[in-house]
Symmetry: C2
Subunit: 209 residues, 2 copies
Amino acid sequence: MNDALDVRAALLTAATRRFAQGGYAGTSLQVVADDVGVRKASLLYWFPSKADLREAVIDAQLDRWKDTLPAALAAATTGRDRFARILQVALEFFDEDPDRARLLLRECLDRPDAMRARLLTRVAPWMGLVTEAIRQGQREGRVRPDLDPEAWLVQVVVLVLGSAALGDVADRTVLHHSAAQHQDAADRRLRELVRVARSSLYLDDAPEG
Amino acid sequence: MNDALDVRAALLTAATRRFAQGGYAGTSLQVVADDVGVRKASLLYWFPSKADLREAVIDAQLDRWKDTLPAALAAATTGRDRFARILQVALEFFDEDPDRARLLLRECLDRPDAMRARLLTRVAPWMGLVTEAIRQGQREGRVRPDLDPEAWLVQVVVLVLGSAALGDVADRTVLHHSAAQHQDAADRRLRELVRVARSSLYLDDAPEG
DNA sequence: CCTACCGATCGGTAGG
DNA sequence: CCTACCGATCGGTAGG
């Protein structure tokens, strides 16, 4: 009875990778089944339709966020520490597996309305917390007064998602360096992303702890 | 003899829109032909294969950049004016038709290696001009000394492309406002993008002319 | 630019 | 979870 759940989980993992790299329309149920080593009809036993498989893949990915983010929020208390922590957790989450960013990006492009509905119920709640913290920072004179909290947060999310999804192309294009220098390029890109986010947020430029 | 070229151009336009919105794999030659009002076999007369159609669509889009950007560079002379002008031209280019950003984003996700090869030959040249101008600004003390020119440019490109491609989703999610407020949301987003780019670039915060 | 056609593959079902 | 199967659609070709 454990093997059965393993097959389902393996199908989810394989589908996530395939959808992220080839897209939903560009991925056949056959190749996902082949990846796991079962028949296509067996895949359709666990997931009644291709659309159901997509739903499960996206939901699983957003669920991981639901676990990761509150933990980061709870761990840090001061505003400045909280900002650095959240950004770091987000960067690690997507950099650990860029397919996550590619999957979400593709879903935004493929079904903007469906993605928007999901974001409203699953992401909007904690987004309000972040923008309120920013406004508090503005009242205290730490955060730039001409910053638009909601719009700024959108830009940072776009930056984190886009940088993770396209980072590989960018890293090997800005400097067409060797494979050994590949990690350096990724480090430079992430460091600069943090610098851009921080310097566009705070009035002064003190480094984080 | 003019009608014939019009059909080809119409096919290119229809394919651009379809590929941007539904993706390459998610778009059949049949619907592109239907959009224009010709038979699928006629499409395959102008573009021998689906892959050829894609190549033509992407090339046409990058060609438009080749005309737009040098004009913007030539129009502005001072460094600060040049930066504002280039960013403004880029934002207008993609905001005028967000499908351009979606198309390029999708191509990066679908065929990263092919996109990288194109970027190296068609975008890398003027990218060197921009990073050199940034370094000059650093020598003159106008630009933040801890900024990484290549990495910063990558972030700004990701931001412009991502913001245009995902702007619609973001605008209607951050504040689930009415259609009348939709333009306001887009304005806020673009204004904040410019602010983020500028404040992460310059040491002081003087507004542009 | 059209009619007519093809082999391959698609998502999905029947039945066990 | 499998075998066997299906109608629809896919990109592409032949021939004019």
